[in-house]
Subunit: 278 residues, 2 copies
């Protein structure tokens, strides 16, 4: 499921994981930004409600994006693995300039789309410039290594998190959502301790990471993004820790970033937003 | 941790996961084949004993490979994350024509090497033609998605397996080892159910998969390799199943392959070994 190769002369689209519960009645900063990115009045938004068990999730986002004046919005009901091989459905999906995956269960997304023609096409679309956003479960699914489920708590503990392969648009981050609301620092640290190569991105609700083609992540929304960077990790006891016991980790770098701040995923550099001080 | 890109004019080296307990006193079919692949008398074998807690594991394999007339054998003690950034150690590793990772704990391997310069270099070496083998824990670590631990039993059950990011030499397979000896079909099926894009490779002890640059996997050794191919999976209940409950899966293709049989990972075609029938 590795990211598709970006062809010469092309630029990959943005990858926009959202922490869930994004504003839908006020300024709608995140959804509005996504529509603009996808072309505004010329945007063609594809909504994928596969993660959700609710029947009206797709229609709900369709209305939201229409009210934000997106040029065209379609709901693509990939409900079964069979649907994900349907040529007509894939051809329709291929017209989109922006793809939005709703919340629900990330394991429903991976078990339905994983290994199908739809998953391959989504990676190719992103590689040729189509922007892909996902909220909550949809956010978790964007990366190569996805948190499938886990326990609450700030302390990393052996066995508290289960990883699964995701869509694989990027292999630079492991995303967690509802981050502050559900006390998930521990499970994100545990996920990173196994193999400290990726950057942990803890997304509060109503907060999104807009990850550009140059690998700069920009924070958009009303909450914070907690960046957990294990690049300088010196030691972890994950291989010795018994199930349920705390994991020792030394040398983790932490950044808490708010709207307007950025983090460069290649150089691992955090930049605070410009603020006027009194 | 995706596979390094293979440069034009280069061919990636073999990837050789071994199911553990490979023969060390008889014909040594697997180890002998690996030495030949790496250049026989001109082979320079690098042994990485990081997975093992035993002090003499490295020296034991050093002697085995010397007795098989490998031209040069060195043990590379990457014990800490700090070791994995050491320029002199990396320069020495870079001379190898074949890399062998011992058994022990795959999580010790991933937690020690993950995200370090050593991991990057191992992927680059494989991409430019260096062959990489691993036995037991070393086998699990070769792929992008690695089984960290799990439960026994033939039936897939929700929560019975934990995945973690591996070294990422390939993203086409998920490997399990000691397969028949430890009754691991259930956990391999569960691992695949999450996201059915990879091929499950269940390695019996004293049995190896030699995966060539053309993505053909050849079976070598005295046991069997159980190939679990979810390409035609129609349905799995993994997203609904409660922890510990069995997972429903329909349409999985299974092959049990013995010495001399092959499986093509791109076309998903199994070919039995030629046998003389009476």
């Amino acid at each position: 499921m590795s990211p598709s190769r970006v062809e010469e002369g092309k630029t990959r689209g943005y990858i926009c994981p959202i922490g869930g519960a994004e504003d839908k009645v006020g300024d709608e900063v995140i959804l509005r930004r996504f529509v603009e990115l996808a072309g505004g009045k010329r945007a063609r938004i594809a909504v994928i409600p596969t993660a959700s068990e609710l029947r009206d999730t797709g229609e709900r986002y369709e209305k939201l994006f229409r009210d934000l004046h997106a040029g065209d919005v379609r709901v693509h009901a990939f409900e079964t693995r069979h649907d994900c091989e349907d040529e007509l459905a894939l051809k329709a999906l291929d017209q989109a300039t922006g793809v939005f995956m709703t919340g629900g269960s990330q394991v429903r997304l991976s078990a339905t789309l994983g290994g199908t023609a739809a998953a391959v096409q989504l990676r190719r679309m992103n590689a040729r410039g189509v922007h892909v956003a996902g909220t909550s479960a949809g956010a978790a699914f964007t990366s190569e290594h996805m948190i499938a489920y886990g326990d609450e708590g700030a302390t990393p503990r052996a066995g508290m998190v289960s990883l699964a392969p995701g869509l694989g648009l990027t292999n630079r981050v492991i995303v967690d959502q509802h981050f502050r609301q559900r006390d998930r620092l521990g499970r994100l640290l545990t996920a990173l301790a196994f193999n400290p190569f990726a950057v942990g991105v803890g997304l509060d609700e109503d907060t999104a990471a807009f990850i550009g083609p140059d690998e700069t992540l920009e924070v958009v929304g009303s909450g914070a993004i907690t960046i957990v960077d294990p690049k300088k990790l010196e030691f972890s006891s994950i291989d010795d820790a018994r199930r349920g016991h705390p994991v020792c980790m030394t040398g983790v770098t932490l950044h808490v970033l708010i709207h307007g701040a950025t983090f460069q995923l290649s150089t691992r550099e955090a930049v605070a937003p410009r603020m006027s001080r009194h």
